[in-house]
């Protein structure tokens, strides 16, 4: 052994730690520092001026920031709940299928392979007011005579983005919940049925607790990259029309690269990083709790 002081696991983890420290932790410390400066890309010397919490203060008191913040939370709440619910439904539908389950499972994975940029592009195309599939169908069926401005009206644009987001991520939930359904022992379900439970009760008190850890794994994975909504929004509306679909992440990008106000953008970015981390830790905890419950019951 060349390094007698380092134990085997430390040695094995060292490369990972070095890479993560160099590419993620150190840059983040740097951006933490620069969030206390009025740094602008156009004026490099401003990096050395410290202005305390002024960036944070002006971010936290600006209406623009809070609107984007609120919209991000709204989008995530709707999208994640819908994804969980639809994913559960889809998993149950596929699980019930007697024939062609393999094919169904493969089809179900389809949206997972689409990169967020592709999802954004695809829905930009589908929701295009002039040549989009959605309007074409609606008009051909005679449901509406005029073109609906899906991506031009602020509220409809947010709705379209949520649809794209749900389409792309429901399958993560569906696949993992289906894995849970397939791994589930059948005896408790049968016992519950013999004991006179209604189908709803069986689901609520027997199946669902068992599926919990699987749903939580899906949630944890999703919470690790909720920010992929940035790509979808960027390509579908780029925060428009008139900033009606601006999310926290697009706001950060705009402040940093279009306005070149790096210090300010870093302050905002830090708030969004903290948000993501809280989110991940929360679901990680829930995952651990759900595991323990299962361990106790089975």
């Amino acid at each position: 052994m060349k390094f007698p002081k380092l134990s085997a696991p430390t040695l094995l983890l060292l490369p990972a730690i070095i890479v993560l420290a160099a590419v993620i932790v150190l840059p983040l410390l740097f951006s933490l520092y620069s969030s206390f400066t009025p740094f602008r890309l156009t004026k490099p010397e401003t990096i050395w001026i410290l202005i305390g919490f002024r960036n944070y203060m002006s971010a936290l008191t600006s209406l623009e920031f809070w609107t984007a913040f609120g919209r991000t939370v709204l989008l995530l709440t709707i999208a994640l709940n819908a994804e969980m619910f639809l994913g559960l439904g889809l998993a149950m539908l596929v699980n019930k299928a007697t024939r062609g389950q393999r094919l169904l499972r493969t089809l179900m994975m389809f949206p997972m392979m689409f990169s967020p940029v592709l999802v954004g592009f695809q829905f930009k195309f589908l929701f295009n007011d002039n040549i989009g599939f959605v309007n074409n169908v609606l008009q051909s069926l005679g449901i509406t005579t005029s073109a609906i401005p899906w991506l031009i009206d602020g509220n409809l644009a947010l709705f379209s983005i949520i649809v794209a987001e749900i389409w792309s991520s429901t399958s993560v939930f569906a696949i993992l919940i289906l894995a849970g359904l397939l791994a589930m022992p059948q005896e408790p379900v049968e016992a519950a049925r013999v004991d006179g439970c209604t189908p709803w009760q069986t689901f609520r008190y027997v199946t669902w607790p068992y599926l919990m850890p699987f749903a939580m794994i899906a949630m944890t994975i999703r919470s690790l990259d909720v920010a992929r909504a940035y790509d979808i929004v960027k390509i579908m509306t780029d925060g428009g029309p008139a900033k009606r679909t601006e999310l926290l992440w697009t706001l950060v990008g705009r402040t940093a690269y279009s306005d070149a106000r790096m210090g300010m953008a870093n302050a905002m970015a830090y708030i969004s990083i903290l948000l993501s981390i809280l989110f991940t830790v929360y679901f990680f905890r829930k995952l651990a709790a759900a595991r323990q419950q299962i361990g106790a019951e089975w």
Partner: protein
């Protein structure tokens, strides 16, 4: 008898409902992709037609031909983007796998202090939004002069992929019984030999799928690539796709064709790993 009939009717009704639901769900999942493929094969006139043309009249591969022929559609160098994407994704995947294998093995086989804290710490680095990470990286890389190079993108993607690779590989190593390696060691293997000759082959398919997953992450990433890559030197396909929108008139057919080019490798690879991916992610679910 009546009750019997009613029951049978109800069962049949439920079955039909189930099939209809399943059909609708699959339609929603598949339709957008099929629509893109279809439109990459149609001439622009037909895409723009009012009232819409539902039954394609004129199918051709022109979009693909012009995309890969010469300078490409509208001067967009698709070949270069494709090459950049491949180089960056493959190199970063290989490096991430090596690092991830060491890390995953450590988590699966050793007990050490603060294990779960370290694990959570690794995961949290993944939770940092790409766009937020791009700010300091942009500043630092610009200073070091490595912006718009393959090297910078590879470095970033290795770091992005390591946490998740460790999660997956940890799961796969834990599925390999510990006794096997111990038996090999008793038979005179060193730990190093036991790893390569017993544990590695058994966890092999899982590790391969972790690799494919890492490849896909790099292949699909946009937020960071859009800021760190500037030119044809290192631009990847997702960034290249946006080249089409920056023009005044969107070339829908060209974009559809490029989208198909992007999705085909991803599609193929995902089909290969689907089984292993799910088992790797959920292995810890029940057994902790």
């Amino acid at each position: 008898m009546d009750q019997n009939n009613a029951h049978r009717l109800k069962r049949r009704g439920l079955k039909v409902l189930h099939l209809v639901g399943l059909f609708l769900a699959m339609l929603v999942i598949c339709l957008p992709g099929l629509w893109i493929v279809l439109n990459s094969l149609r001439p622009t006139v037909e895409i723009m037609a009012k009232p819409p043309v539902w039954i394609p009249q004129d199918i051709s591969l022109d979009a693909y031909r012009s995309m890969f022929g010469g300078a490409g559609q509208g001067g967009i160098p698709v070949w270069e983007y494709f090459r950049n994407s491949l180089i960056i994704s493959i190199t970063s995947t290989v490096i991430a796998l090596i690092i991830g294998m060491a890390g995953g093995y450590a988590f699966a086989r050793y007990k050490f202090k603060g294990k779960s804290a370290v694990f959570l710490g690794f995961m949290l680095t993944r939770a940092v939004p790409g766009i937020a990470l791009s700010l300091p990286l942009f500043m630092i890389f610009a200073r070091l002069g490595i912006i718009d190079t393959h090297f910078s993108m590879i470095l970033i993607y290795v770091a992005l992929n390591v946490p998740f690779t460790i999660w997956l590989i940890d799961g796969f190593f834990r599925q390999v019984p510990k006794d096997l390696a111990e038996a090999a060691q008793i038979d005179g293997c060193t730990r190093w030999q036991a790893f390569w000759q017993v544990e590695f082959p058994l966890a092999g398919p899982g590790i391969a799928s972790a690799g494919i997953f890492a490849f896909l992450t790099s292949w699909n990433e946009y937020a960071l690539a859009s800021q760190i890559t500037r030119s044809v030197n290192s631009k990847t396909l997702p960034v290249g796709l946006l080249d089409y929108t920056s023009e005044f008139t969107i070339d829908w057919r060209g974009m559809c064709a490029l989208a198909v080019v992007m999705i085909v490798p991803a599609l193929t690879l995902t089909f290969i790993i689907q089984k292993h991916l799910v088992s790797g992610l959920t292995f810890g679910a029940v057994k902790g």
